[in-house]
């Protein structure tokens, strides 16, 4: 028995040493060899508007990032704010809990910030507290997910989900039309099916395809995660023995989709991505796989939101426009990245 105890002790201490070594060695994510190219996006100062003005404090609240795109939103906002000596950046702890985000925004109202940039977990549910900020005289810059009540924000800036679907639909439709494919098999892999943004994307996609006389053959949702992307794609590939084109809504889950395609050893079709991650752009540039293009939904919108928040707080307008004040709403165009222009977009891509 003693011998067993001793052996056990030895094993345990061995395991402890091993785990200790791992803890110290393996948790590091400092890029030692692999360069992590895409730095957070911040536009360099250019116009008169960028010269230091009245000191302002900008509050920032966004969902917790469990996804490359949202992570890029927070990083871009911070990086942009740092560009200005007259901006004090005040982010609150990111959260996926509606309740917590409401209290976080309330705390920023209490702190009497000069402007608020909010990417709500859900526009409907955060509407009330955004309205409270506006009523307290704090301009709210609504990022991406829109508040239903126009009294709840000064300016909205965000991507064009419908336009994203349209861009993908045109790319696929045109290419198949040019090839002269009749009755093509077109698959669509969505993000979270229940979100309005997903439904907008799908509607834009279907509408654009219709102009070429095509329609979506099958559609499945993959929850925006890599793992789910693999699962859904490998089943879809089984369901359709011959595919002409795939539109995958999201480049993050696209890593999983591409892994499944590679595993199934299929290449008779081409694929279009969505969002515009640096990784997808590198794949497109290399041109070795099925991924040919991606349609953007760029997290650089967070950098722009900070710039706008600063201008509004300082009472300035957009210098390229005639008006003295910043517009009420800015919708970014969804751009199509292909092999030809990937190089130009690569610096704007986000790491998944």
């Amino acid at each position: 028995m003693n011998k067993r105890v001793a052996r056990r002790g030895f094993l345990a201490s061995g395991a402890a040493v091993g785990v200790g070594a791992l803890v110290s060695a393996c948790t590091s994510n400092e890029p030692a060899a692999a360069p992590s190219s895409a730095a957070p996006q911040a536009a360099a100062a250019g116009t008169d508007n960028d010269k230091p003005g009245t000191a302002v404090t900008i509050g920032f609240s966004a969902p917790a990032a469990d996804h490359g795109w949202i992570a890029a939103i927070a990083k871009n906002a911070e990086a942009q704010a740092k560009q200005y000596s007259d901006v004090t950046f005040k982010p609150v702890e990111p959260t996926n809990d509606i309740n917590q985000q409401i209290s976080a925004v309330e705390s920023l109202i209490q702190a009497k910030v000069s402007a608020l940039v909010i990417l709500p977990n859900d526009g409907e549910q955060l509407n009330q507290v955004a309205r409270k900020a506006m009523d307290a005289g704090i301009p709210v810059i609504n990022l991406d997910r829109v508040f239903p009540d126009k009294l709840s924000y000064r300016t909205w800036i965000g991507g064009d989900n419908y336009g994203m679907g349209v861009a993908a639909g045109h790319y696929i439709g045109k290419k198949l039309k040019d090839k002269g494919v009749a009755n093509p098999v077109i698959l669509e892999i969505q993000g979270i099916a229940t979100l309005p943004l997903t439904q907008d994307r799908s509607k834009g996609f279907a509408d654009a395809l219709k102009t070429y006389g095509f329609s979506v053959t099958a559609q499945q949702d993959a929850k925006f995660t890599v793992e789910s992307g693999t699962q859904v794609a490998s089943n879809l590939l089984q369901a359709h023995k011959k595919i002409d084109a795939i539109w995958n809504h999201d480049d993050d889950q696209g890593i999983g989709v591409l892994a499944a395609i590679k595993e199934a050893n299929r290449n008779e079709f081409f694929m279009v991505g969505g969002a515009g991650s640096a990784n997808a752009m590198r794949d497109i540039q290399a041109g070795s796989g099925v991924l040919e293009a991606t349609v953007t939904y760029s997290p650089t919108m967070a950098s722009s939101a900070i710039k706008i928040a600063r201008l509004i707080a300082q009472g300035k307008g957009l210098s390229d426009l005639v008006e003295n004040q910043v517009p009420q709403s800015i919708t970014l165009a969804s751009e199509t990245i292909t092999k030809e222009n990937a190089e130009k977009y690569l610096p704007l891509g986000f790491e998944s």
């Binding site: 785990v19 791992l22 996804h67 929850k223």
Partner: protein, 355 residues
């Protein structure tokens, strides 16, 4: 075999009884709680497994009828097995824990943590073998922490593993900075587990089968397995029979953690990534598979084969829904119904066994 639920209740065992006699009696009862070696599948088995097999066949017929050109192809069957492999490995560990009277809610989170830990740039610098070992160690380590909290810290398994679920996901997010970490091209040997095929099957399917085989052997042909049934059926009786219940419990959770580590290797191979979002809600899928497979949540009864059949039913349903272009929501409804039906049938089966 009248006492189908295992060795009697603690009330039957007066504490002041002479130890010698008592020991014999309890030892006998503990053995009785373990499945008999009469059948390949163990005692609970036969009838219930037959039911599950029939369900599988019915689903396959549905597949043949609704998707005639695609369902019965070899590539579809391979794809189903590859999809089942990741959760399957976790389900084997979960079966041990539940038979041993516990529950492990942290499996998905531990797998995510192991996949992230193994794909950090620092770990990747050491190559694919170290990445795999890292995943196994992280999984086992987290399982040991669960086991220590439950066996020696006397925490309720539900709470201890719930805490691990939350904390492990948090740690995975922190470590990965909430990004998806790609397996670097020079570590592609890991991804080849999923892309290399031997006799038409990807290597990861062989790993899955190997884990099932080892799990089955350990549970049915070793003292450790028999003790697992005893500990789950009646821990007090097991303790009186001379089994170190706490140590045994500790090992069960470590085993479950190890399975999560193996699953992490498989998910890295399949998705080419490590991510804090991997394995979301795997704990529920694994528990559901175990329950459908006929394992009692109260412990002391169950089989690995049953769990795997339960899991295959789930995977097959997902496959059938996608082959027929149906949406995810209906899939979830179907899975919910199957859990309820399986448990209702199980209860009827129990009643007919116990007079």
């Amino acid at each position: 075999m009248t006492n189908a639920r295992g060795a009697g209740t603690p009330k039957d065992l007066p504490k002041d009884a002479p130890p010698a006699d008592e020991h014999d009696r309890v030892e006998h009862q503990a053995r009785a709680a373990a499945p008999r070696r009469t059948g390949l599948l163990g005692r609970v088995g036969q009838a219930h497994h037959l039911g599950l097999a029939v369900a599988l066949v019915l689903l396959a017929i549905v597949g043949l009828v609704t998707a005639p050109g695609t369902f019965a192809t070899s590539s579809n069957l391979v794809s189903i097995l590859a999809l089942a492999a990741t959760i399957g490995v976790i389900t084997v560990g979960m079966t041990f824990v539940i038979i041993g009277g516990g529950i492990d809610l942290s499996v998905g989170a531990i797998m995510a943590l192991a996949s992230v830990w193994a794909t950090t740039l620092a770990t990747q610098a050491y190559g694919p073998v170290v990445m795999a070992i890292c995943a196994l160690l992280v999984g086992t380590g987290a399982g040991l922490v669960n086991g220590l909290l439950i066996a020696y810290g006397r925490m309720v398994p539900f709470i201890a593993t719930l805490a691990m679920l939350v904390a492990a996901r948090g740690l995975a997010q922190r470590m990965s900075d909430r990004r998806t970490q790609l397996v670097r091209p020079d570590n592609n040997a890991l991804v080849e587990l999923s892309t290399t095929r031997v006799l038409g099957l990807p290597l990861l399917v062989y790993i899955f089968v190997l884990v099932i085989a080892i799990g089955w052997l350990v549970l049915n042909r070793t003292t450790f397995g028999r003790r697992t049934y005893a500990v789950g059926g009646n821990p007090e009786a097991a303790r009186l029979a001379g089994i170190d219940v706490r140590r045994h419990t500790l090992i069960l959770y470590a085993l479950s953690g190890l399975c999560c580590g193996i699953a992490a290797i498989l998910i890295m191979a399949r998705t080419t990534t490590g991510s804090s979002t991997h394995g979301d809600l795997y704990e529920l899928d694994a528990i559901a598979a175990v329950i459908i497979g006929g394992t009692l949540l109260t412990g002391g009864r169950g089989t690995i084969i049953g769990s795997i059949l339960g899991l295959l039913i789930f995977t097959l349903i997902t496959n059938l829904f996608i082959l027929n272009g149906l949406n995810t929501s209906d899939q979830l409804i179907a899975k919910g119904l199957i859990i309820v039906i399986a448990v209702l049938l199980q209860r009827r089966g129990l009643r007919s066994q116990v007079p």
